[in-house]
Every structure is written in structure tokens, then in C-alpha cells.
Amino acid sequence: MSSPQALSANLRRGYSPVVKTSLIFVAVAAVCLFFADISITTLDPWSEMGRMAQGVLAPDFTAVAGIGMIIVQTIAFALCGVALGAVGGFLLAQIFHIGPVRWTCAAVRAIHELFWALIFLQMLGLTPLTGVLAIAIPYAGICAKVYAETLEEAELPALPALPFGTGIISSFFFARLPDVWVHIKNYTAYRFECGLRSSAVLGFVGLPTLGFYLETAFGEGNYSEAAALLIIFYVLIATLRLWMRPKLIGLYVLVAPFLLGGGAAIDMRNIARFLTVDIVPAPLRNGSLGAGKTWSNLADWAGMLLFDQALPGMVATLLLSQIALVATGILALALFPLISEKFFGRLPRLLGHVFLVVLRSTPEFILAYIFLQLWGPSMLPAIVALALHNGAIIGHLVGRFSDQVRLRPDSPRGLNLYGFEILPRIYGQFLAFLFYRWEVIMRETAILGILGIATLGFYVDSSLADIRLDRVMFLIAIMVIFNVAVDALSRHIRSRLRLSTQTGQA
């Protein structure tokens, strides 16, 4: 990494805006790195890593009782959550032009699935509905946006030819929807893959999915068992196209609700209490509204949360995510040739694909959890986890994109091909993917706080441990504002640099 002086000198020499922006981000990350704690604190990380490697090499498929049921429930939660989210998102997309609908969707998707799960745990307890809603609600917000954009961009040639007096439902389903259906279908399939990862992670807060058993297995050092669980999960995602047949989806969605497992009964009183008592700031709950003291207490309360928790949490979140963003970019640029026709033959590409599938199928949360066990608590496990997962996703997208590049017959090979022919052509697309991913990285960074890294999630988790739900909601609200702001900034940069992606899947 070049020194800040060199960078600023470069900036003055008038590079293109794309390069300038890249250099600014690298410089910011370098400064962040200076303030971040990235030490390895375990004295002997290698012996543990060796044990882990042994476990991976000798996965124990018999160790986990009912391994099949764990997988089935992980899929069932993903199916129910994504189905509800997609249908909800689809309906919302029809009224997405209404301001408040758009804002609500933005807020709803700024909150990570795990936080949604923690909120619903308070209202509904450990019930299947908690897991389903934790996926469905943020996914509805995301799908609404993407579907609405798709519908808006569609050319609708048949619309003017429809007979006068055709109802809106008929015209929608005949003349509007079919034109965008393929895109919506592909996007929803992609969302389902994300849903599987989300479902797996929900196990970490107690739902009966993969994460539940993975946490136990890792926590107790049963790496053979953990490896078996993860391998099955990878195979499941790699073979998604084989078992997720269009004809079977209806059947799957019909059966899935019955496979979510039992749980306690839902008590409306718990929901009412959460909404009317628990989340009311403590000073208001305990004081009389007429008293001046109540309001000064409220100001103290908000000030304390803002300055002692939200602010340090945001600083840590920002530090970590900026480093992770740049690390993700570097890794993606290093990884994409693995699957690109321009660089490798069929067999090496296949291996490259397997490698990237493994990396992008493992949720950041689980990767970070593993690295924390290995290296001890610092920002390093989080940075590496975020970079590996997101780098693999962007590497995959850029790799596919690079196959479309047309080369002249006498083009150079190897590093020269990479540096002079491919990189300049894919760089804009690469940056677009990366900036799309920025918001996601930010949201993930916040959630990693639950694992003990002092990002916003750490403070949310602490208030949750104290059952102070008013503080939880206050901090989550700040996180929403923070995330929406980053999203807006990313959009601004993308439009200024005229970057766009066709897939929207980054």
C-alpha cells in the first residue's frame, strides 16, 4: 500500500475519477488500519488451526444426530421466509412509488436478519414464526426495491394494444408481468440462496437451523462434526439448481411450514407488552410525562446512549467496514481470474468455482466466528471473514463478466493480459459491484458485534443481555439511519462515476 503522501501526489496528477475514487478509498482504509486493532491474541493459533484442518479432512457425518433434520429445517426456514418476503416484496413493489412505502422498505432492509430475530424473540419467543419473519421482513424490503426497479425499467409493448376496459389486474398479469418475469424469477432464486445462508445463521440465536449445531460443534472443538455440517451445506448450495426445480417449488412451499418444528404458543400479551412498554425509553416509562425531571432524564438517557455507545460503535463499524471493503476489492480482483476463461482451462476453472462457492456459501458471521476461535478477539477475524465472503461473491460476478470481454488475437498473456487488457475493461463493473456491496458489508459489520467485536452490534447485544429493550430499539434506529446514509452515499458515488450493473445481484 502506498503512503498517504504518494497517494495525494497521485491525486494531484489528474487521474480519471474512477481511479481517484479508488485511491481515496484505499487511503481511507489505510488510515483506518492505523487505528484498528488487528492483533492475533491467541498465543498458539497454529495448533488449533491444525486441529481444525484435521476435522475438515476427516468430517464425521455420523456425529450429528439427525443431521438430515437440521438441513431440512434450515431449508424450510429459508423457503418460508423467502416465499413470504418475495410475495410481500412483490405487493409492495406495486406501491413503491409512494414515499413512505419506499422509506419503510429502506429502513426494514437496513436491519440485519439476526437483529430482526432478536426483536421477534422478545415478542414471539423461540417459535418458528420468529425465524420466518426474521427472514421475510428484511427480504420483503429488498425484493420490493428490486422488483419495483425491474417493473419500472420494463418496456411494455403490449400495453397500448389492450382492449379498452381491460381491468388493472388482467392487464398487469398479461401485459406487464410476463415481460419482467424471467428477471424477477432469477432474482428470487438468488434471494433464496441468500435465504439459506440467513437461515443457517439464525441458529446462532437459538432457532433449530444449521448455526445452532455449528456453534455448539465449534464451541466444543468438535471440528469433524462442524466440517460435516458445513460440507453438507456447501453441497446443498452447489446443487441448488438440481433440486430447486420450478415444478417442485409449489410443493416445497406447501410442505415447508410443517417442517419448521414446534415451539411454545404465541401469547398476544407478550407482543402487546413489547410494543407498548418494553420499547418505551426507561425515563418515560418510569416518570410522569408532566414532570420536567422526566424529560431531562430522557435527554441524559439519549445522550448517554448516543455518546457512550452509538458513537464508539459507529466509529468501530466504520473503521472495520472501510478496511473490509478495500480488502474485499483486492481479494475480488485477485480471485476472479480463477473462474475466467481468459486465464484458465476447464479443470482449473472448476476448482476455482468450488473454491469460490465454498467461500461465498459460508456466511460472514460463521467465518468470523471460526476466525475468532482461532485468532482471539480483535478486528482481524471480522476483516478476514468479510473480505473472504464478499470477495468471493464479487470475484464470481467479475469473473463471469470478464468472459464477455473480446480480445484481439494477438493479445498478451498472463500478468500483462490481466493488467493491460482485462483489468481496464472490467474495472468499472467491478467498482459498481463493490459499491453495491458496501451497504451489505456495513450491515454485516454491525452484526459481528454480537461475537464480541465492539461494533454497533456489540452494544445492541449488551443492552439485550440486560433486557433493556428500549436501548436496543434506540441503537437499532441509529443503525438504520447510519445504513441508509451509507446507501445514499454509495448511490451518489455510483451515479457520479456512471457505474451500473445489470444484475443487481452484488
Binding site: 422478545q122 440465536v205 437459538g206 464480541g452 433486557i467
Partner: protein
């Protein structure tokens, strides 16, 4: 066309799925949980046995559900999804604070005088002492769970009392391992130099040969305080029958199976009351863990 058939179909199914009552309501099953203070496999083994014992003794179907955090245990109790909890001092105080009418009914014999051990990695060179080891300042430090009495509340209290400052000002790094087994593992591996651990878990793991005395040792023991207890909801009397609470208490106090007791590990269970935990409540208020 085929694709649209699936859309229409899928939408209809998804809507019907929304209305499905996926939960089986286990109305008459008496459910309990425990704070996840140790390895899950061990907890499950222990409490599944307790469930069998209670089912037999109470004549009511009894079930243990594992949870992933102290807060989840308290929340499940608060939301009446479990009616009985094996709580720590702090989580018990919280649970009873949130559920009026709930009651501490039994504690382990050892819980009358529980202790926290401050443990250190050998590289610190610290030796055991009777006085609070002021030399731990400037080291890295891990608590157990954020909601633990022996792993958080009491050690934080003594750190604050002796240094007159918050832990994150005293130590170069402060962590929360999650549970006592992990605290021991983290200090033993050197990930943290100092840790605070439940003395019962320490002794249990020492006996089981999981601790390498060359790597990790105890430097200081806190004065005794009341800790773990069984807490039951007040409304079990209406949900099952009058006198149910007394019956549960009796069953717990009469738990004599040495294997079962050894798994806690406790010598026996003795009666307890809410007032036994007044000191815990006071400390929790003092360091602002309960408002």
C-alpha cells in the same frame, strides 16, 4: 405460460402458508430452561435427566429446552414459554424483577456461598494472593457471559471497587467469552491474560483433567455471595393446580441421585427465597446492570 402457472400457484401457497398454525401448543407440558453457562452437550445431558426426574416425581410431563444466551433464558421465562428456570444470581434477580409473583424456591448447597476465581495465564507471572491482585491492571481481561453473576457481575463489582474505575479503563482489552468453559479455554490459550470464572466450573474442569495447571492458575478468590437458584413463575398454581409450586420445590429438594447432583455439581439442594438474593440485586443496581 408454465412459469406463470407456477407464479399463480406459488403466490396462493405462500399466502396459505402464512395462516398456518405451525406451532403445536404444548399446553400441559411443564417446561424449564437453564442459563447456558457451560458446554451445551453437558447441559443437555444434565437437564434431560432432570426432566425425566421431574416428570416422574411431579406426574406432569416436563421438558427442558436449551437456549443460546442468558438473556434468552430470562426472556423465555418472562414470556411464559418456560415456567421454571435454573438461573444464576443476576439472571434470577432479573427474571423475578420482570415477572411479578415469581419466586426463588431452591438453591444448591454451595450457592449460599459462591465464589468467582480470577485466573491468569502463566506468562503473566502472577502468584496467588489473599488480597485483590492489583497487578492485573494493564492486562487483557475476559468476563464470561454479559449476563453472568460469577463471570460478570461480581468480578466487575470487585474490579470497580478496587480500582475505582470501569473495567475498560483498567484493562487494555475487555472481552466477554460467552461462558465459563470458554473463559478457561481463552486464558489457557493466552488469548486473554486474565479471566473471571465460576469456581464450580473451574473445579469441575480441573477434576475432568481439562485444565493445564502449567498454563493457567487461580490468583484470587472473591468473598462468598449467593448464586444459582431455581426460580418458578407464580402463575403455575393456576395453570396446573394449587400447591404445584410446593410440589416442584419438594421434588428439587429431594433430588438425591448422586450422579445427577454431581453433574451440577452440587452436594444437595436447599430451600431459597427471593430475599436471599438482595445482595445481588444491590450490586447489580450499583454497577447499573439493573435500573
Amino acid at each position: 405460460m408454465n412459469r406463470l402457472k407456477h407464479l399463480v400457484f406459488g403466490a396462493a401457497l405462500a399466502f396459505s402458508a402464512m395462516g398456518l398454525p405451525a406451532q403445536q401448543v404444548l399446553a400441559e407440558t411443564f417446561v424449564f430452561t437453564a442459563i447456558p453457562d457451560e458446554n451445551e452437550a453437558r447441559l443437555r445431558e444434565r437437564f434431560d435427566k432432570v426432566a425425566v426426574y421431574l416428570t416422574k416425581t411431579l406426574g406432569v410431563e416436563t421438558k427442558y429446552i436449551p437456549v443460546k444466551s442468558y438473556a434468552a433464558a430470562v426472556t423465555a421465562f418472562r414470556n411464559n414459554q418456560v415456567q421454571l428456570g435454573w438461573f444464576g444470581g443476576l439472571s434470577g434477580v432479573r427474571a423475578r424483577h420482570l415477572v411479578p409473583g415469581s419466586e426463588a424456591i431452591a438453591q444448591g448447597f454451595e450457592d449460599q456461598a459462591f465464589e468467582t476465581y480470577f485466573i491468569v495465564h502463566a506468562s503473566t507471572g502472577l502468584k496467588p494472593s489473599a488480597d485483590f491482585p492489583a497487578a492485573i491492571a494493564g492486562k487483557t481481561f475476559t468476563f464470561g457471559s454479559k449476563g453472568s453473576t460469577s463471570g460478570r457481575l461480581m468480578p466487575e463489582y470487585y474490579v470497580r471497587q478496587n480500582f475505582k474505575a470501569a473495567p475498560n479503563r483498567i484493562f487494555t482489552k475487555v472481552g466477554f467469552s460467552g461462558n465459563h468453559s470458554k473463559t478457561i479455554a481463552l486464558v489457557q490459550s493466552g488469548a486473554y491474560q486474565v479471566g473471571a470464572v465460576n469456581f464450580k466450573v473451574w473445579e469441575n474442569e480441573l477434576k475432568a483433567g481439562k485444565i493445564d495447571p502449567k498454563k493457567v492458575s487461580v490468583v484470587w478468590k472473591t468473598p462468598p455471595y449467593p448464586d444459582y437458584q431455581w426460580t418458578i413463575r407464580g402463575d403455575v398454581e393456576t395453570r396446573w393446580k394449587a400447591g404445584f409450586k410446593a410440589k416442584v420445590r419438594e421434588a428439587l429438594l429431594n433430588m438425591k441421585d448422586p450422579d445427577l447432583l454431581a453433574s451440577f455439581p452440587r452436594k444437595s439442594f436447599i430451600p431459597a427465597s427471593n430475599s436471599d438474593y438482595k445482595p445481588i440485586l444491590d450490586v447489580a443496581k450499583l454497577i447499573d446492570l439493573i435500573s
